[in-house]
């Protein structure tokens, strides 16, 4: 029943460090040979690094397996080795069954050829036989919704049509083992749902599927098993829920609180010094911050100069560097010497998912900055997971307000 589909043992992949371009030039080789003909042409010192090192795992037949990890952890390199695009430096992989891979949609599409011609070309590139493509042709076209444009050159296709056709061809590959890299994020919303549905069919049809994705929700929905790669090695593997939450914990090294006990060493100047700053949910303080959560920011300062007139300002940036929010308390009130606590509350149903950075300003009565910190705190807003109707992709938009929709049919 549970025979292996893939067994990898001790795979390693070494790359040259790319200070210089990865390719060589013949001119250099000749020059090097001419200047030192007694040394081997290849003896120039090179630095290497291991993109993968000693990676071993087994994947059972019929399993849907997800590979997760940060950027640069080696996910794509591993997939490229399994898909035979590049060779390993060491180790060995056994694959039982025909292998297909979907590393990118529409690879090899030629803009000058028509949709019909590209289906055959791309199918052949993916390893399909002509007869097999002919048999699946109508299905591929119907799934991609390009019936009307079959005899149009692909260069006239919209980008949506292009990816739909590319995905559709690859999705109709009937290999026993399928490698899929980050392709669930192609096309528009409706098509993504369709892709996910198709992948769910593939995963439950007894074929072995290996997904690489940043999208943990998609991985959890599709896979029974997850392999977590970290700096080129297998960090952990197991059930998706458990692995994904451990992975998330490791990724989340946010600074949601900062505390300085000693005024002398605390950041600040002769007027104010920072004692503490924190960001947390306004009500259940140890719960996760989701898109629904109202967020409380607190700042405690020592006022060193009695009677200082102060204003405060917060700017909130998201991971794309967009200033999502600008807010402040600009009353330039006078404060006595000693500790003061300032609180600010961001309402729920406002921020979209993602990582945020809090930039904090203390201003004088002329609104001139006395002290600033560009990255005082960072925090992440997680998805609240409701109101999605099954859609698992990234929710677009800088904000995520709770918009009230109604419909009526006027007579």
């Amino acid at each position: 029943m549970s025979e292996n589909a893939i067994r990898a043992s001790g795979i390693g992949k070494q790359y040259r460090l790319s200070y210089h371009p990865p390719y060589k030039t013949f001119r250099e080789a000749v020059a090097r040979f001419a200047s030192a003909p007694w040394r081997s042409v290849r003896s120039a010192p090179e630095e290497h690094f291991w993109a993968l090192k000693d990676v071993s795992f087994e994947i059972k037949q019929g399993q849907a397996v997800g590979i997760i990890g940060r950027n640069g952890a080696g996910k794509s390199t591993l997939l490229k080795i399994l898909a035979q695009i590049t060779g390993p430096t060491e180790g060995i992989v056994y694959l039982w069954g025909r292998v297909g891979s979907l590393l990118e949609v529409g690879v090899g599409f030629h803009p000058e050829l028509t949709g019909r011609e590209n289906i055959y070309l791309n199918g052949a590139l993916l390893g399909m036989k002509k007869a097999e493509i002919a048999r699946k042709f109508d299905e591929i076209v119907a799934f991609a919704e390009v019936e009307k444009f079959l005899d149009t050159q692909v260069k006239h296709y919209s980008s949506g049509m292009f990816v739909r056709l590319g995905f559709s061809i690859a999705a109709h590959l009937e290999t026993e083992i399928l490698f899929v890299d980050e392709v669930l994020s192609v096309g528009d919303l409706a098509f993504q749902e369709k892709c996910l549905g198709k992948m769910q069919n593939v995963a439950s049809s007894g074929r072995t599927v290996i997904f690489v994705s940043h999208n943990l929700m998609a991985i959890e929905a599709l896979c029974q098993h997850v392999i977590w790669l970290e700096r080129g090695a297998v960090m952990a593997e197991g059930r998706p829920g458990a692995i994904a939450s451990r992975y998330l914990e490791s990724v989340r090294s946010f600074r949601m609180e900062t505390l300085h006990e000693e005024p002398q060493s605390a950041p600040g100047n002769e007027i104010i010094r920072l004692r503490r700053a924190s960001v947390r949910p306004a009500t259940h303080s140890d719960a996760q911050i989701t898109t629904h959560t109202s967020i409380l920011m607190e700042f405690e300062l020592w006022v060193l100069a009695a009677g200082a007139r102060l204003s405060f300002e917060v700017q909130l940036y998201n991971a794309y560097g967009i200033r999502v929010l600008f807010t402040g308390l600009f009353d330039a009130r006078s404060y006595p010497e000693g500790l003061v606590r300032i609180s600010a509350r961001i309402p729920g149903d406002l921020l979209n998912t993602g990582i945020y950075r809090i930039e904090f300003f203390v201003l004088d009565s002329a609104e001139f900055p006395l002290w600033t910190s560009a990255e005082l705190l960072t925090f992440e807003v997680a998805d609240s997971l409701d109101l999605r109707n099954g859609y698992l992709g990234e929710w677009p938009g800088a904000v995520r307000a709770n918009v009230q929709w109604t419909t009526e049919i006027p007579e």
């Binding site: 695009i85 590139l125 993916l126």
Partner: protein
């Protein structure tokens, strides 16, 4: 269970697979080769204003230039046949070789996107230009046959030997193409030397002149260039020029085998790194 034991096993390990394994994969992917050849032909003929006629026009125009410059002005001998057909008969296989060589030098760069995203036997990349060149060859060859009666050339029984020289030009094209494609992937600047290489190679091949102009003592060395034997062979079996000596011919055959085997070995040694360097 029995069915599972029959499942195909594929093993991935450092270095290249055995050549036999690679050949069976090439056979498995022959339809891809067909589609790539068809793609290149279709796109090329779609993009040029002259379309298919270009395949014939190119050697024909060269023939006219050669006839005027070398035939009329320089009065170069042509082994007793009219100079135009003497030159054209050599230009037909030469164009095939030159085209395959030039296209091979671009093939890795042109297909780098495929190579970094999809698995297929990489030898298909240098094989494709050889096959596209063959299509052009057939068109130009048809014109050669049509021109022969016009110049009063009647083929003799030796024409039965034509397949031998056809095979020789195909193998030479592939042997040199496989070297060039691997080298262009390894060294980026090799590409710029190709036009010069093609031009020089043309002058060390008896296209504009008969090889009888080459002193006897150099003939063996001259045979190291397989295109010499291709061109002489074509003239011999089609135009009825004097039979070329056997020994230089054998030297050419041996040279092709050595270049081909060395090229394939070199290509396969680099094969698994193409996706990383391109």
């Amino acid at each position: 269970m029995a069915e599972q034991n029959d499942r195909m096993l594929k093993v991935i390990r450092p270095g290249a697979d055995r050549i036999g394994v690679e050949f069976s994969r090439l056979r498995e992917y022959r339809e891809l080769l067909f589609f790539l050849v068809w793609r290149d032909l279709k796109v090329r003929y779609k993009q040029t204003a002259l379309g298919v006629t270009w395949a014939v026009l190119q050697p024909l125009a060269t023939m006219v230039v050669f006839s005027v410059v070398f035939g009329r002005l320089a009065k170069i001998p042509s082994d007793g046949v009219p100079y135009p057909i003497f030159a054209y008969c050599a230009l037909v296989p030469w164009q095939m070789f030159a085209f395959a060589l030039t296209e091979s030098s671009n093939s890795m760069m042109q297909n780098q996107y495929l190579i970094s995203k999809i698995y297929f036997p990489r030898l298909i990349v240098p094989l494709t230009p050889v096959f596209t060149a063959m299509v052009d060859f057939l068109l130009a060859f048809a014109l050669l046959i049509a021109m022969m009666p016009f110049y009063g050339v009647v083929p003799k029984l030796t024409i039965l030997l034509l397949p031998v020289f056809l095979l020789l030009v195909v193998l030479t094209s592939f042997a040199v193409g496989v070297w060039v494609s691997a080298l262009t992937a390894e060294y980026r600047d090799i590409r710029y030397t190709i036009p010069f290489l093609v031009q020089s190679w043309m002058f060390v091949t008896p296209i504009a002149y008969p090889s009888s102009l080459v002193p006897q003592k150099w003939r063996m060395l001259y045979g190291l260039n397989p295109m010499t034997s291709v061109v002489e062979g074509f003239r011999w079996v089609l135009l009825g020029t004097p039979a070329p000596p056997l020994m230089p011919m054998l030297v050419s055959g041996l040279a092709v085998v050595v270049i081909l085997c060395g090229g394939v070995m070199h290509f396969r040694r680099l094969e698994s790194t193409f996706a990383d360097v391109l």
